[in-house]
Symmetry: C2
Subunit: 198 residues, 2 copies
C-alpha cells in the first residue's frame, strides 16, 4: 500500500535525522559527547523513539564505523584512479589514508578505538571487506606471484603500518614534528614496496 510506504519512508527519514544530528555532535565534540537524550531533543521526539530505530547506542556507533570505512574506501579508490603505476598508486593511497584519518579524525577514532564495543563482530562488517579489496588489488599488481594468502599477509602488513603511523601520531605520543610525519610514512611505504616479493 501507498500508506505503508509512507510509514517506511517516514521511518527512514527520522533514522537519517538521528544519524545526522549524531554526526554533528561527533564532529564537534566527539563520540563521547553523544547522548540519546541530546539526539531525541534535536530530532524533536521523546527519548525512547531513538530506540525504535537503533537497538542501543552501540548500534549507532556501528553505523559510523561502516560509514567511515566506506568514505575511506572511496577516497582511496579515487586516488588510485589518478595514477597509472601500481607503485605510485600505493604510495599515493597511503598518503590519502593518512590524510583521511586526520581530516576525519572523529570518524577514524570511532573506527579504530581499541575499546570498540562490537569487537567480536568487527570481522563481520562488510564495509571493511570492500576497503581491503581495493588495497589488495594494488598489492596484487606489485607482486609477482598470486598466492592468495601471501597477498593477504602483505595487505595486513601494509594496513598495520598505515594504522600504526596514524594512531601513534593521533594520540601524539612522540610529538614528531609535522614535516617529519610524511617523511616517515613515505619511508615506511618505500620499504614495504621494496620488500614486497620477499
Amino acid at each position: 500500500m501507498i500508506v505503508k510506504n509512507d510509514r517506511q519512508k517516514q521511518k527512514e527519514l527520522t533514522k537519517n535525522a538521528i544519524l545526522k544530528v549524531a554526526e554533528e555532535i561527533v564532529l564537534q565534540e566527539g563520540w563521547q559527547a553523544v547522548s540519546i537524550r541530546k539526539i531525541a531533543e534535536a530530532i524533536g521526539y521523546s527519548l525512547p523513539v531513538v530506540y525504535n530505530h537503533f537497538e542501543n547506542k552501540d548500534a549507532i556507533q556501528e553505523e559510523f564505523v561502516k560509514n567511515g570505512f566506506n568514505m575511506l574506501a572511496m577516497a582511496m579508490q579515487s586516488t588510485k584512479e589518478k595514477y597509472p603505476e601500481p607503485e605510485q598508486q600505493l604510495t599515493q593511497m597511503a598518503l590519502t589514508y593518512y590524510d583521511f584519518a586526520f581530516s576525519n579524525s572523529a570518524y577514524y577514532k570511532m573506527m579504530f578505538g581499541l575499546g570498540i564495543p562490537s569487537c567480536q563482530k568487527a570481522n563481520e562488517i562488510a564495509e571493511i571487506g570492500n576497503f581491503s579489496a581495493i588495497i589488495i588489488e594494488v598489492i596484487s599488481e606489485l607482486m609477482g606471484e598470486t598466492d592468495k594468502q601471501r597477498k593477504f599477509l602483505k595487505f595486513h602488513t601494509l594496513w598495520s603500518i598505515l594504522h600504526g603511523l596514524t594512531s601513534i601520531n593521533m594520540v601524539n605520543l612522540t610529538a614528531a614534528p609535522d614535516e617529519m610525519q610524511q617523511q616517515i610514512l613515505l619511508d615506511a611505504i618505500h620499504g614495504f614496496i621494496k620488500n614486497i616479493n620477499n
Copy 2:
C-alpha cells in the same frame, strides 16, 4: 616528625589500595567497568575519599598508562639482554612487544585507546621517553650513521609497525589466523631491518 611520616605513609597506602582494586577491575572487566563508587566500597572508604588521592578519574587512568609503559619497557629491556646481536635483539623485542600487548591487553588498550583523555599531555609522560630510549639504542647499533633525527624517524617507523599490527589484530578487523600473525610481524620487522640504512 614521625607522626607526619605515618600520615604520609597511610596516604600512600590507601593510594596504592585504590590502584590495586582498580587494576583488579581493569583486568577482569576493562577500564570502562571501573567506577569511583566501586573503588571506594572496595577500599572501605566513602566515595569522596578517592578524590583526596586522585583529582579525577582520568588521573587514575594516567597512572595505568605510565605503569603500562614501564612494564613494556622492562619486558623489552629484559629481552634485549638475552641476545647479543642487534638484529636478533630487535626481532625478539618486536615479539616481546606483541606478546605484551596481548598478555596485558587491558593495559595496552588504556595506553593506546584513541579516545585517550590526556591526549594533549601524552607527550609529557616521561615513561614513554624511557621506552623510546631502549628501542632507539638498538636501532642505533643497526644504523651506520648517527644522525639523531634519522634514528628517531626509524624508531617512529618501527613503533608504528608494531602498534599497527597489534591494534589491528586487537580489534580483530581482519580476523587473520593466529599462526599467520607472527609471520606478518616477522615479515614486517625483516623488511624494516633490511631497509634501515635507506
